[in-house]
Symmetry: C2
Subunit: 191 residues, 2 copies
């Protein structure tokens, strides 16, 4: 998805947050393609949800959407299957050095993570701390417990360092989260 950024007349909308997130998203997509072609797992990013208002149907060419709006997602962005298990996660970049704002994750998404956890999913959040060039995997359970028990508006970085698991990057797997998942969720035990 390309957003115009050269025209100074554009007002930067909230959606530009997903612009900043592009590179984590691309790293995860690359990694997911590797997992798929290596037969490790089947995980996809869901398409961006939009509300279509108007579609033109020109003769002899493809239908063109001429009016549509971004919609708030009811679920997380990623899900799939790994080692026979349903996995579900959200991924966000974080510019702050000191904390991850809870406002980065919609309440719908927290409810969704709570729902899938109750049904036996492997659920987590990936946070890229841009300033430290580090990706962390945080179990959804830990995230939700902290979220529900605090009056804070963000997850402090020291909490992330203590409770999160660093995700390794390689050329083929720029965000190799499943290596962490396998270890942290002890999948070999449950098989």
């Amino acid at each position: 998805m390309k957003y115009p950024n050269s025209n100074k007349n554009y007002v930067k909308p909230r959606e530009s947050a997903s612009n900043r997130g592009m590179s984590l998203e691309e790293d995860i997509n690359t990694t997911n393609r590797y997992y798929l072609t290596s037969d490790i797992a089947v995980v996809y990013k869901k398409p961006t949800p939009i509300t279509i208002v108007h579609v033109d149907y020109p003769k002899r060419s493809a239908a063109k959407i001429t009016e549509a709006y971004f919609k708030v997602a009811s679920t997380t962005d990623y899900n799939g299957i790994f080692m026979g298990r349903y996995i579900d996660f959200e991924a966000k970049e974080c510019e702050s050095k000191t904390s991850f704002p809870f406002s980065s994750i919609h309440s719908h998404q927290i409810r969704h993570l709570t729902d899938v956890l109750r049904h036996g999913a492997i659920a987590f959040i990936i946070i890229r701390m841009v300033a430290y060039d580090k990706d962390f995997l945080i179990k959804a359970n830990d995230f939700i417990n902290f979220y529900n028990s605090t009056s804070r508006k963000s997850l402090p970085y020291d909490w992330i360092e203590k409770n999160g698991f660093v995700i390794e990057k390689t050329y083929k797997k720029p965000c190799d989260y499943l290596q962490v998942v396998e270890r942290v969720f002890e999948l070999w035990v449950r098989k």
Copy 2:
């Protein structure tokens, strides 16, 4: 999603096929909402994949997509978690009385079903035979085996009747496919 249909100048595009499917889609969405609120399962339809070409960012109002096109889906439309298991399916309406054309399911989707099956998913196809007002669940495995072993271009209705499982409709669950899933995939045995 609303498509204009009153203007006679519009050429009906291929995408209008998804218009015909609207009512099965709505029945599945209603059923999925029931499953969610009754804590039976968490299953969602994925958003329609589109390629965004241009977005306007008017001051003081929401970003507006002014040029976008429909994209072929790389996966099936529905996935989620039921009884701790990953489930994945595609749903299609069929107007023909005699057979279900294979062209209704993209080759990407057949490949995707093959992928998730190999990883241990519960995978299937729901076909609504409009003429008979009947919904059938067909195991992805059975569908793919037949698809790979025939030179036919469609699934004959007698094959569907013999190999498919009729899905019941109730007011709250207008397409109660999980009742069939639980029985047909013998989920209580594997728990």
